[in-house]
Each structure stands twice: as structure tokens, then as C-alpha cells.
Symmetry: C2
Subunit: 708 residues, 2 copies
């Protein structure tokens, strides 16, 4: 391959209608769940891709050019509107300006095309539509009025023309068990830690049945009646050969019973999404280091075709779960496409007939996910291309408001908030209004980016009106806190943590309110405790935002350290230190119902990156950023935070900081007992022992200081 | 098979979500079009079925029962909410009350199930949903609030469990050519009349290429450059064997060129929808009889999986074309499912993003189709099950009204009306408002049937408001007619036939206006003539409604007789007697662009049944009906009109009528110079030589009279 060929080969990609592959692939992925051998699909509506798509691009060529054409679907291929006969595998485009277009029909999978030529190739600069709204008159003349909306093509950068999008699979890698107990007709394997993939039986021979019981815990694998995952297969294999199961499962332990068959070993094909850990964290506390590693592994396992909730079950894309994965991702992989793929899979197609995953809060987390996505990546194109879908989803919400302009659970709406005994979902729940308010702010922001100024004004006004109501309806001066809900138009005096802690890091509170919330809610044991890592995420974030990293460090060691002490090799869906033994594995009324590898368990990645290393964007896409290291009781820490412009590296001990950023303009903020110094940089005093220093990309800074 | 088995076997049927199979099958059908070997799909949006469906039914059994289960898709099967393992092919339902449910995922084709047991079997009494909106709490308890909407399952009465819905094909029957000229490397076959199917080459042998040029006319088949349909296939067949082409085509003539191959004969596999001709018409005029037969054959050819426009092209479902087929169908096949299948295919899924087929008038014909469907069949269940889809389509229309409350063509709207040179589509076209008015009346009627009284009031008010506007904005007292349009808020003085003739049979005019329209529009040669059978349909209907069957008979003989004289074996898309020779075959700027077998050419079936035999429903589903025979210059006529309750038979000469109806209550109206008589019946005089007689089902009447 010559070097110019290499250049264009890197650019050509399979393309399709934007969002369609996400919808199609998430259907495929989410329908892989089984429960004790029965198919268990999602209970919400699944959408479908558009089955007939028009693709085009105009090319200006100096010389004629031939390109190879690969298509998934039944298609025609046109040059300047004139169809070539049949289903051409090559196209010859003459010199000059010419339009290449295709119309592709595919019911079973996404209409997709890959064209591979020197200049004529497919990429996201192609324009696509599902409705071209063209017609002709009786003379054959095409109408000149058209309201066809074209969008830039979607792509996952699949760059191999021979690998059709519908054939995409995650890669696998064979892994040996850490320990296998082999008896006649029976294997019991321990893979040493939570894992995911396909069980492989070596030299399997004979005719009969194999029963496989999987366990995230030993107890689960041994319980052949009540474990969550089991497979039963019939095999007739007179000659010994390796046999790999068809379905992928989550497990650490595998309990295998052979009837009429024998094998001599068991391994597994680990299935994974190849991610690069760009972020890192290491510190003086070995338990925290272990927590970080297990959290990173937990997130890796749940980062698949999309961000999923858990690998044993549900293996579905849940918006509230995914929202936390986005945030962790910005501090570990910084895989932006994984975020947009997940957002588009969740959004599905119009019409909106229910909340995302049927959960009201999960609709709002979808908007919050967009808010953060823009903040961390600065990707305006995504916002512009999908602004209409934000609008139709927001309109669905706004139409469901009651006479007070608030949202409460209507029939068919699941008000989730958290798994917590006795948590009220009745009436106008303050937490839902708070999330709606931030969602409105998000759509207003996106309207501005999309150039829809009038919309922006409307959404901004609605957000600010709702924010006022939030304080006038729910803030209880005596309780120094937001109350949980209004029922029949009257505020209850029930205080819960949710609204209060979110209001802290949404920056909705004044300083007095912040301190009140800290004292009367977050540090108040009378307010019901949170027992899911899901909501602990936000609780600890609020404490960090209030500057209490020292307390949060202790909480991390207690809570996540608690799971490690129980032998966790990945973090759980729920952890209640008050329980003991196999009680920990129960949930949903089932002895092994709990997921022991749940993405929302991995939040220390986010907390350590954002609030200890202290790195976050100040303006979209890290154009400007802040670095505000806080040791929180650690002796030292060092780590890397990925950004779209390269990495930001931070080392911090009690007397020294080392900072380097690949690009962009940042500001370092810190406290010091002594006057700090940095060669080649000016440190500004802000008073009260606070200091600030400008950081420029490409330079290394070494700061001498004295931690308070 | 025992007789009780036979009974249940007749009832069990493949079922799916209502409307989904129509959407899926119409995608498949409409994507079969080719133009000179290039794939030519529809240019409007194609929708898709729901990919994940929940099916259930509650059974009460005296004894346990085993039933066979056939499924298209990946599924689970539950009894009382508990899933059976794997993909069971049988289900055992215990005695007592039990719920059988399935959840089926299928991306490529419609999720469908066939269960075959004595009492436990699938039919349209099953309930289905695409969104069950159920959730659980942390204890595993299912929510008790649910807003899930269940609908009765859809079905096409596919009663063979082994024939999956996705494998459905229309039957074929081999037919010989009427004449084949065989030369070396060349066949020219004439099948004697327009036909449709797959060319079959007998004892094909060798290796090389076959080029096939199809022609509805001889000229087209001989024109290898500009005929509309051509196939080119490569064959390598060392041993002689029959070879059938993969694609079905429309043709009378086939021109075949062999390169490197030989064959000894050619035939074709006629592909057809097996319909029973329940309606019939025969009279003293042989030319009219021939017109009726060719019209019936034309409709038969275009009645396929759905009612299509034409068999050469487009082979698509066009709402305005289909609307006429519905009406003809009520007088020929009375195939009600064919109507609902076509209506549902056209309606597709929400959201509505453009008019049906992108044409504003075609959206309205969809509503008119519902209006007539209810009138002729009395099927309330269909109205109830699809009322929401009527509403969302009507809302799309109502949102597009301008400041005057009228609809004009917005960007992306095709205002079609008819193929006619110089026909204005600008501004507020009166014809579109007229169709909108009847559409509103239709939705109001359906709202009543669906029990939505408040909606009915709203739609009725909107219809009556629009009707007033129609007269105040468009009725021109000097022209004694509706004018064509308003431009910039001012009525033009352009008179066209469309609005005026529809207003006649919509019964929107008073007697004076009716006579004015007849004189100043219909019989006025200054008003531009209509040259498509499409609009001639309505023009002649209006004349019939005005009692001028004599003139219409002459017109039929001239116009349809004119096509027969030119050798037509099916009726055309357009016929202009002023043209000559091969000019007749041209359209859309292409020498053979015209379709010579177009459903809208078959309207004499409807006119002869409704306005000569004079049979039509007075109340929905022929609960009551009218028989008003009009000879219109014929010596005698006889025929059958099908109804949901059986056939109505009419014989009428100038001195005698014979009437029999299978069921229901009808009234016979006629004129007589002399006092008529009928044994066993009372004839009431209405004055002015008009008479009326009650007709009861199951009796034969013989009336002596004397035609005026």
C-alpha cells in the first residue's frame, strides 16, 4: 500500500443514518439477557432503525476515479441522479463535479455503505435522510421545492469493508481458571475474580447433557436451584473436541455437571471492549489504590457495546446507571463515542411514548448526560445533530406537568430515585423537579449551540421559573433543607438526602444553604442512610464539593473497603454493612438477585479524579480547566486525567506538587501554610492561605508549598 | 384428524401486533420495483414493525391441555408469569384459570406466534402490547399501577403453523404464451394479454448471458433501449433444465436474447392473489360487457398483497389510487381484509412526518377510505382499534393550517389533484379544503364509534366551520361553481371540475347548486377536460349521482371503449383520445413511461354496480340498503352486488325487474310509466312516476313495470 492509499484507507468508514446503528445494536445487545436459561428481554419499548435511507455526497475530482462499493442491504447507486444497473460493486466517477448517491433498503439490519476510493469514499461528511420528499410531474420533471432534511452520516469508524456492521462482535481472549476441581461428571472452576465471557470445555466427548451453573459468588454457583444464571445444553460429539458455549455470561465460579460426556479442562473466552486506561490514580493508601483498581475493572467490565448496568443482569442500558458511567469514563477512558453511542441508544426514536427505561428520573439523567458530555468534550456537532431529539423528549416531559407546573408520577411513570425501603414516590417529589430544572438548563444551552435562540429564551425562562418554585415550594427554613415532596399541594416535612445533595453540586445554593445542607442533612444521622453505591456517588460528591475530602476518604475506605474485605473483586449493586454472609447476595426477593459487578459501584474513579487530583473543565472541552488538588488526609497522590487535548498529570504531596498538561490553559488552585514557589511561574495569593497559578499546556511545573 | 381437531385447527392463526405485518409486508412488496434492472424503492419514509411484543391470553380449562408452539423470533413463554426454560415447542397448561404469555423479539420480520391446542390457541382474542410499562421494587414486587395499553392481536388468518408469516408468497400458476417466435438466440413471446409473473425458460442450457426486454406493448418489448423493464442474467447450466427468473414483472410481450445459451420454449408463472369475483354485471351492450370484464381483470392484477397502483410501475401502495380500488372492490370481490391491510400499510407508524405518499390529497383519501369502509362493512372493531392513528394523522393536518384555517402546500407537501397540464397547485386550493372537510367528518364519526364523545364534538365543529368557509370563500355566484383556489387571500376566477364534482356526490350542494354544477361545469366544454381515468372516475360518478346514467354510458363506451379499440387488454393510467399510435404509451417524458394496467382504470366496475344496478348501503354494513336500478339506455342488465350479509341480485329490463337479497332490509326505488306490480309485495307510489318497495332478505321479487 502506498502512503497516499494509507491516508485514504484510514478515512473510509461504514456509514449509516445517525443513531440507527445505536438503536439496532442496543436491541441486539439488550436481548442477550437470560435468566436461568429463559430469554429475558427489556420491558420497555424497543425502537427500530429506518429501513430505507438515501445517502449522497458531491465530489469534485481532477481525474476519473474508480472506487469499491460495499453495501448492507438492497440498493441502487447513482451518479448525478442516474442509476447504474443492478447492484454494482464498483463505481467509476468521472472528473469534474459529480454527485454520488445511494438508496439502501434493509429491514433486518441497518442500511449501511462503505465506499473505498482515493477521494471518493464514505465518511461522516456524507449526507443522509430517511425521507427525501421529492416528486415529479407528469412530464417527469422533479419538483424544485423540497423540505428534505439531510443530516451528516453516522459512523462508529468501522474501517474494514469486509467486516459488515451487522457482523460486529466484541473481541475475546482465552483465560484459564485459577483453580479447577475435577471429579467424575463434575467440574468446579474458580476464575479468581469476576469475569465475563463464554465457557469453553476442552476435549469434550460423548453424547448427553451438560448443566452449567454460574456464580458471582461460590454460594451462587453451588445453588443449582436458585442461582441466577444456568445453561443446559445437549451435545453429541463422538470425537473429542473443544466446545465453546454460545451465550456469554458473568461469573467468577462455574459449576459444571456432565451427563454422558467427559472433558479434561475448562477455560473461558473473556469478552471485552478494548479500552485504554488513560486515567490513573495512585496514593500513599494501599486500600484506596486497591479500591481504584477494582473500580476501574468494574467499569471496564460494564463498558461494552454501550455502558450497561451490570454484567450478570440486566445487561441493559439504563439511563441513570449509564449517566454515572459517563462521568467515571471522563476520568478513566475518556471514550467519547461510547458516551454518544449510549445516549443515542437510550434516546431511540420518536414518538416518545414513555420515560427512558420508563423511569422519570432516567429521562432527566439523559439530559444531564448531554450537559456533562458537552462540558467534558466540547463536541458541538453532536448537540447540533441531535437537538431535535432533545426537544421532542423535553416536550414529552413538559406536557406531563400538572396544574402547578410540576411533574409527578402519572400512570406508567416509574419514579425511581433509589432502592431504599419506605422511600415515598407520591405526589410532587422535589428531586424530580430539581432534575427537570437542570434538564431545562441543558436544552437551553443546546438550543444556543444549535442556533435556536428563541428556543433558548423559552427554555431558560422555564428553568428559572422552576428554580424559583423549587425554593418556594420545598425549602423548609426550620429544617434548613429541601423537603422530599408535596402531597395534595402541601409540602411534607420529610427530609431526604437526594434533592439536598444534588443542589450542592448543581450550585443552586447560597453559602448559608450549603452549610445548612451539610450540617442538617449530609452529616445528620437522623436522615435515612443511603445503601446503594448509586446514590452514595452523589452523596460523596456533595461532600467533596463542600470540601470534606477527608470525610469522603474515610467513607470510601469504610464502604468500598468493606466490600473488598468481603472478597469483592468488582463492586456491587448494593452494599449494606449491616448484613452478613450470603445475605449480601440477596436482592429483589431472590437469594442471588444482587449484581456483584455493577457500573454504579465504580464511582471512586470519578471522585478521586475530580475532587482529589482535582481536575475538571472550566469551559467546554477543557478549553480552560481547573486543577485543585486536595489530599484529604493522604500523604501523597499522583495520577493522570485524560482530556480531549491530551493528559493532565498531577503529583501532590504535603510539600510538593508537580503539574503538567498536554495543552490548553488551566489554573491551579491550592492552599498553603507557607508562601509557595514555582520556577518559571507566578503564583498569585488570593488571601487566607489560598493561591492560584496559571498553567499552560506543554510545560512542567514543580511547586514547593506546605499543605494545610 | 378428528372432527373436533378440525374445528380448533380452523380457528388457530398466526398473530402479531395489529398493523405490524402490513407495515413489514408493504416494505417487502414496495421494494420489489426495478427500472431497467436498477432497484427503485419508494421515495417516502418506510416505517418498521415493533421489534419486541408481549402477547397474552387468559384461559379457563376443565382439563390440562398440551398445545404446540410456533414462533417467529427469539422468545420466552410464561404460564402465570413464570417463564419456561429455553425456547419451548410445546406448552402444558393445567386445568383452571391460567394466563399464557409470550414476549417475542424479532428485528428482521414481525414477532409472531402460532399456538395450536384444543382450547389454547392463538387468534385475535389475544391481547398484545409493544410497551408493557411494568416495573418492580427492590423486593421484587411488581408495580400495581400500570398504564399499559393492550390491543387485540392482528392476523391475516394464516392458518398453517408450518408456513411462517415472513415466508408468505402469493400463489403462482404456469401459463403458456399465445404465440412464440423462436429464432436462433432470440425468442419473441406474446402472452395474449397483459399479465404478471415470472418468465420461465424451458430446457435452458449453456453458459452466458440472457437479456430479457418486457413490454406491455409490442413496441416497448422491441425497444431494447427505452423499455421500462429489462433483466440481464448470467447463467452457467451445462445440463438443460428449466430456469425461472427471480423477479416478477408486468408484461404482455417478452423479447429474449440468448448469448451462449439455448432454450426450447418460454412460459410464465402467473402470480396472483386468489380473489373470488362475487360481483358481476352483464347487459344488452356487448362493448359494456367487455369493458366490465377488462376492468375486472385490471383490478384483479392490481389487487396483490395490497391494492397497488399499477403492475409495471410503481407496484407501490398509493393512497389515492388505493381509495378507488376499495370502492371497486366493494362491487367485485368485497375483500374487506384487503382494504384494512392497505389502509394500515399506508398509515404506517407515528410520528407522522409527512403526508401519506407525501401527497396532501392522499392523506385525505386515507380518511375517505375509512369512511367508505365503515359504510360498506360496518366493521366497528377496526375503527376502535385504530382510532388513535386517525387522530395523530388528523393532528398532523390541523397543525399545518394557515391563518385562515385552510391547508395549502407547505414545503415538502405534494398537492397532486390530478395529472393535468397547467393545473395550478398554488395557494389555498378549494379541492384540498373539501377533502379535509370530509376527513374531519370521518374522524368525528369514528370518534363516536370509539366512544370519544368530546372528540366527536370538536371534529364535528371543525368540519362544519370549514364547510361554511368552503362556500363563503370559493362559491362564485356568477360562475355558478366553486372556483379552484385563493391566492394571497383572494379567490381566483379559475373554475376546474374537481371540487365541483366531489361536492355533488359528497352531497354538499342544494338542488340549485347541483344543477348549476352540472350545467356550468360538468357539461361545459370550456372547463378543462379530464384525461385520466383517475379523475374520470369521480366526474362520471358525479354525473351518475345527478341521474345522467345515459350520458355516462356513452362516455364509458367512448373512453374505455376507446382503449379497447386500441387493443387494450387492461385499462391504462391515462388515455387521451387525441393522441395516436405509440404516443399513447408515453408519459413522464419517457416513451413507455405510461402504465397500461393501472387500478384506477377499472372504475366501470364501481359505476355499473352502484349507479346502474343501483345497489348501495344506506346504513353501515348494509344493515339497510337501497336498490335503484337505472338502465341508462341499456335494453336490459343483470348482476350481483356482494355485501357482508350475502349477495344482492338484480335483473332489470324495460318491463321487468327481478330482485333478491340474501339478508337485511332494503328499499327498491324506480320510475315507471305504468303502475307497477309485484306478487307478495306492496309498492308505494311517491308521485311523479316514482315508486318504492321494501325488500326483505331471503325472498325473490319479480316486478312488472314500464321504464321511463
Amino acid at each position: 500500500m502506498t502512503s497516499s492509499e494509507a491516508v485514504f484507507a484510514q478515512k473510509a468508514s461504514w456509514i449509516w443514518y445517525p443513531g440507527d446503528y445505536e438503536v439496532w445494536m442496543s436491541n441486539r445487545m439488550q436481548n442477550r439477557r437470560t435468566e436461568r436459561g429463559s430469554f429475558l428481554p427489556p420491558f420497555w419499548k424497543l425502537d427500530s432503525h429506518y429501513v430505507l435511507i438515501d445517502f449522497h455526497k458531491d465530489f469534485v475530482l481532477d481525474a476519473p476515479e474508480t472506487a469499491n462499493v460495499y453495501v448492507e442491504g438492497q440498493y441502487n447507486l447513482k451518479i448525478d441522479g442516474k442509476a447504474l444497473p443492478g447492484y454494482p460493486k464498483k463505481i467509476e466517477v468521472p472528473a469534474g463535479k459529480h454527485r454520488v448517491s445511494l438508496k439502501i433498503y434493509n429491514q433486518a439490519s441497518v442500511p449501511a455503505v462503505f465506499i473505498e476510493g482515493k477521494h471518493v469514499f464514505t465518511d461522516t461528511s456524507w449526507r443522509v435522510t430517511y425521507e427525501d420528499k421529492e416528486w415529479i410531474d407528469a412530464s417527469g420533471k422533479t419538483s424544485d421545492i423540497s423540505s428534505t432534511k439531510y443530516f451528516p452520516a453516522g459512523s462508529w469508524n468501522f474501517q474494514d469493508p469486509k467486516l459488515a456492521p451487522s457482523a460486529f462482535r466484541l473481541p475475546v481472549q482465552e483465560q484459564k481458571a485459577a483453580d479447577v476441581q475435577k471429579e467424575d461428571h463434575h467440574f468446579f472452576a474458580d476464575f479468581g475474580k469476576e469475569t465475563f465471557g463464554y465457557v469453553k470445555l476442552h476435549n469434550l466427548k460423548g453424547k448427553g447433557k451438560i448443566k452449567i451453573y454460574y456464580g458471582e459468588s461460590k454460594e451462587e454457583a453451588l445453588d443449582t436451584q436458585k442461582g441466577e444464571l444456568a445453561d443446559e445444553i445437549e451435545v453429541n460429539q463422538p470425537e473429542a473436541a473443544d466446545y465453546t458455549l454460545e451465550g456469554s455470561r458473568a461469573f467468577r465460579y462455574v459449576n459444571i455437571q456432565f451427563e454422558g460426556l467427559s472433558a479434561n479442562d475448562v477455560s473461558m473466552l473473556y469478552e471485552y471492549n478494548p479500552e485504554t486506561r488513560r486515567g490513573s490514580f495512585k496514593c500513599s493508601d494501599e486500600e484506596i489504590n486497591k479500591i481504584y483498581d477494582v473500580a476501574a475493572y468494574t467499569l471496564q467490565l460494564n463498558t461494552r457495546e454501550f455502558f450497561i448496568d451490570g454484567i450478570k443482569r440486566d445487561r441493559w442500558v439504563w439511563s441513570g446507571d449509564a449517566y454515572q458511567s459517563y462521568l467515571m469514563n471522563y476520568y478513566l477512558f475518556f471514550d467519547s463515542p461510547e458516551v454518544t453511542h449510549t445516549l443515542l441508544a437510550l434516546r431511540g426514536k420518536d414518538p416518545v411514548t414513555s420515560h427512558i427505561n420508563t423511569i422519570m428520573d432516567y429521562t432527566f439523567y439523559w439530559f444531564l448526560g448531554i450537559y456533562d458530555y458537552y462540558r467534558y468534550t466540547g463536541d458541538q456537532a453532536f448537540i447540533k445533530n441531535h437537538y431535535e431529539q432533545m426537544q421532542t423528549l423535553m416536550n414529552f416531559c413538559l406536557k406531563r406537568r400538572d396544574q402547578d407546573g410540576l411533574m409527578e408520577g402519572l400512570p406508567g411513570d416509574w419514579v425511581f430515585i433509589d432502592w431504599a425501603d419506605g422511600l415515598s414516590k407520591q405526589g410532587q417529589v422535589s428531586f424530580e423537579q430539581l432534575l427537570l430544572c437542570r434538564s431545562l438548563e441543558t436544552v437551553a444551552l443546546c438550543a444556543k449551540i444549535a442556533g435556536e435562540q428563541a428556543d433558548a429564551v423559552t427554555y431558560d425562562a422555564q428553568a428559572s421559573d422552576l428554580k424559583k418554585k423549587l425554593f418556594s415550594y420545598y425549602w423548609n427554613q426550620d429544617k434548613h433543607a429541601f423537603v422530599h415532596s408535596r402531597i395534595n399541594g402541601k409540602a411534607t416535612d420529610n427530609v431526604t438526602r437526594y434533592t439536598n445533595m444534588f443542589a450542592v453540586f448543581f450550585d443552586y445554593l447560597n453559602e448559608q444553604q450549603r452549610q445548612d445542607v451539610k450540617k442538617y442533612v449530609l452529616l445528620n444521622n437522623q436522615v435515612p442512610k443511603i445503601t446503594t453505591p448509586y446514590m452514595r456517588f452523589y452523596e460523596l460528591e456533595a461532600l467533596c464539593a463542600l470540601g470534606d475530602q477527608a470525610k469522603v476518604l474515610k467513607e470510601m475506605k469504610d464502604y468500598w473497603g468493606g466490600m473488598l474485605k468481603l472478597g469483592a473483586t468488582s463492586f456491587w449493586e448494593e452494599y449494606n454493612p449491616a448484613k452478613s454472609g450470603a445475605e449480601h447476595y440477596a436482592m429483589y426477593g431472590r437469594p442471588f438477585g444482587k449484581s456483584l459487578c455493577h457500573a454504579w459501584g465504580a464511582s471512586p474513579i470519578y471522585l478521586l479524579g475530580k475532587y482529589y487530583l482535582g481536575v475538571k473543565p472550566e469551559t467546554a472541552g477543557y478549553e480552560t480547566y481547573r486543577i485543585e488538588p486536595v489530599l484529604g488526609g493522604l500523604q501523597w497522590m499522583e495520577g493522570t486525567v485524560p482530556t480531549p487535548k491530551g493528559d493532565i498529570k498531577v503529583y501532590c504531596s504535603k510539600v510538593e506538587m508537580k503539574i503538567s498538561a498536554a495543552a490548553g490553559n488551566g489554573v491551579l488552585r491550592f492552599k498553603s501554610k507557607s508562601k509557595p514557589s514555582c520556577k518559571g511561574a507566578i503564583i498569585k495569593s488570593l488571601g487566607n492561605g489560598k493561591y492560584e497559578m496559571a498553567v499552560s499546556g506543554g510545560k512542567d511545573y514543580q511547586i514547593k508549598y506546605s499543605a494545610i
